[in-house]
């Protein structure tokens, strides 16, 4: 099993790399022991929600993303500038994908908000993962 940890709230600082709700922070194995602060549900002021995916490993999640979209879950998104002597990659987004939180069933959103956790399968969650550059769903 793998646990996908998503940012639960928007950072409104306006900087390009500010966290947005639904961006994945980490993927960790099911035996990962979170701290109380990390487990705090959004309804109680917590910053994260955890989606346990019961039928895949961390490596499989990584492999699926790499095969489909050729990037890592935690990768920053860059754009390219050519204004300097050497081409300069400019970071434009904290992550290259996000979880379409607003499109999740209301019951799932409520559970995530109140408990901070939800368990599902890869076929059920993957369609809610969206490539932020192409807007393609996994």
């Amino acid at each position: 099993m793998a646990i996908l940890v998503f940012r639960a709230t928007n950072n409104t600082s306006g900087t390009p790399l500010a966290w947005k709700r639904g961006m994945p922070v980490e993927v960790v194995p099911n035996n990962h022991v979170f701290s109380p602060r990390e487990l705090l549900p959004p309804a109680q002021g917590g910053s994260f929600v955890r989606v346990t995916v019961s039928d895949v490993t961390v490596q499989q999640v990584r492999d699926f993303l790499r095969t489909r979209w050729s990037f890592e879950l935690e990768e920053v998104d860059y754009d390219q500038s050519v204004v300097t002597v050497e081409p300069e990659l400019i970071p434009i987004r904290r992550r290259k994908l996000h979880l379409r939180v607003d499109d999740l069933p209301v019951s799932v959103r409520n559970q995530l908000r109140t408990t901070g956790a939800f368990t599902t399968t890869w076929p059920n969650i993957r369609t809610f993962l969206q490539n932020l550059r192409t807007l393609e769903n996994f």
């Binding site: 600082s13 900087t15 966290w19 602060r37 910053s47 890592e72 990768e75 050497e86 300069e88 970071p91």
Partner: protein, 333 residues
């Protein structure tokens, strides 16, 4: 000053990224917001960005607890970051953000995209080690890539080796970059490389053993807009503030073999007592030891064999780690 811990168990956070993603707040009045890493390694890219109102007083700082930090040489037994990416793996993209005692390696087998990237104004790396398995030949695959979006970036007591450029300052104009007491070696291209007209201050820096030039200011070997003080290199370059012809070999350093580089100085090293006292700015070396006497060039302040043993000992299990001994970071030759 608020410190939260990053530990596998019993701390405030369990990964570097979760600390960062939970502390990206309005820093007004927050002081120095420290994330202290214990026994946790990073296996994915890390970015510090998004907090607001950071300044010289209020900023985020990712560091490593003294019992878990490297002692100036790459050590997989201590907190480290090993990530395979075709982009840079550790980004400071928030003004005044700092990182210290971070050892990071881009493990990509064919086209590593670099290690540290400092995007924002006045970001700082201190006592860090950055290297790669196989750096890419293009763009920013450097040990430290200083992006033109920021100025005033600072590199202090750091080691960068086996990168494309050790340090690449991608600035075209006044940039106020400061590099103090670093060693840059074994680059597949240049040691320190800037674009033309980048303003760079380098003090007590050694660059050598690089395939390209040890110092290169936009195709100009040497410099015109850099300011150097007691720096050294292996190349034959005539510039103010530079001693050339100092070999990157074991007459000066402990180990210069790729993959096993140890930049601690050896007896008789030309870098010993050849530096400038910068104690008005900082006082320690890469081991965290207080510099004394005439400063050495590079991150390590040499202590002669048989010299005063000023290590600090802590009793067994005071910090719950190990069985006691010399305080980590204090090294006696």
């Amino acid at each position: 000053m608020a410190t939260t811990t990053i530990k596998s168990a019993g701390g405030d956070y369990t990964t570097w990224a979760l600390w960062e993603a939970d502390t990206d707040n309005d820093l007004t009045g927050a002081g120095e917001v420290i994330g202290e890493i214990y026994d946790v390694n990073a296996t994915a890219g890390f970015t510090m960005a998004g907090a607001t109102n950071s300044d010289a007083t209020n900023f985020r700082h990712l560091t490593v607890n003294s019992a878990h930090r490297h002692a100036g040489v790459w050590d997989t037994g201590k907190a480290n970051m090993q990530v395979s990416l075709t982009n840079l793996i550790f980004l400071l993209s928030e003004p005044f953000a700092r990182a210290s005692y971070i050892q990071a390696k881009n493990t990509d087998a064919t086209a590593g995209g670099g290690v540290f990237r400092l995007d924002a104004n006045s970001t700082q790396l201190a006592q860090c080690i950055g290297w790669q398995t196989a750096p890419d030949t293009g763009t920013s695959a450097s040990g430290a890539y200083l992006n033109s979006a920021g100025t005033g970036q600072i590199l202090r007591n750091c080691v960068f080796y086996s990168n494309r450029h050790g340090v690449h300052s991608n600035h075209n104009s006044a940039s106020s970059i400061i590099i103090d007491n670093c060693v840059i070696a074994g680059s597949t291209s240049h040691g320190i490389f800037t674009n033309l007209n980048a303003a760079l201050t380098i003090r007590n820096v050694y660059s050598g053993g690089n395939t390209g030039d040890d110092y290169n200011e936009g195709s100009d070997v040497g410099w015109s807009t850099w300011t150097a003080t007691t720096c050294m290199c292996a190349d034959s370059i005539t510039e103010t503030g530079l001693t050339s012809g100092v070999a990157f070999d074991t007459s000066n350093f402990t180990n210069v073999t790729a993959g096993s580089v140890d930049i601690h100085l050896v007896t008789g090293s030309a870098l010993i007592d050849a530096g400038t006292d910068l104690s008005g700015t900082f006082t320690i070396d890469i081991n965290g030891a207080t510099r004394s006497g005439t400063w050495d060039v590079g991150p390590d302040e040499f202590v002669a064999a048989g010299g005063a043993d000023n290590r600090i000992f802590w009793p067994a299990n005071l910090d719950g780690v190990g069985s006691g001994g010399p305080f980590p970071g204090h090294r006696v030759q």
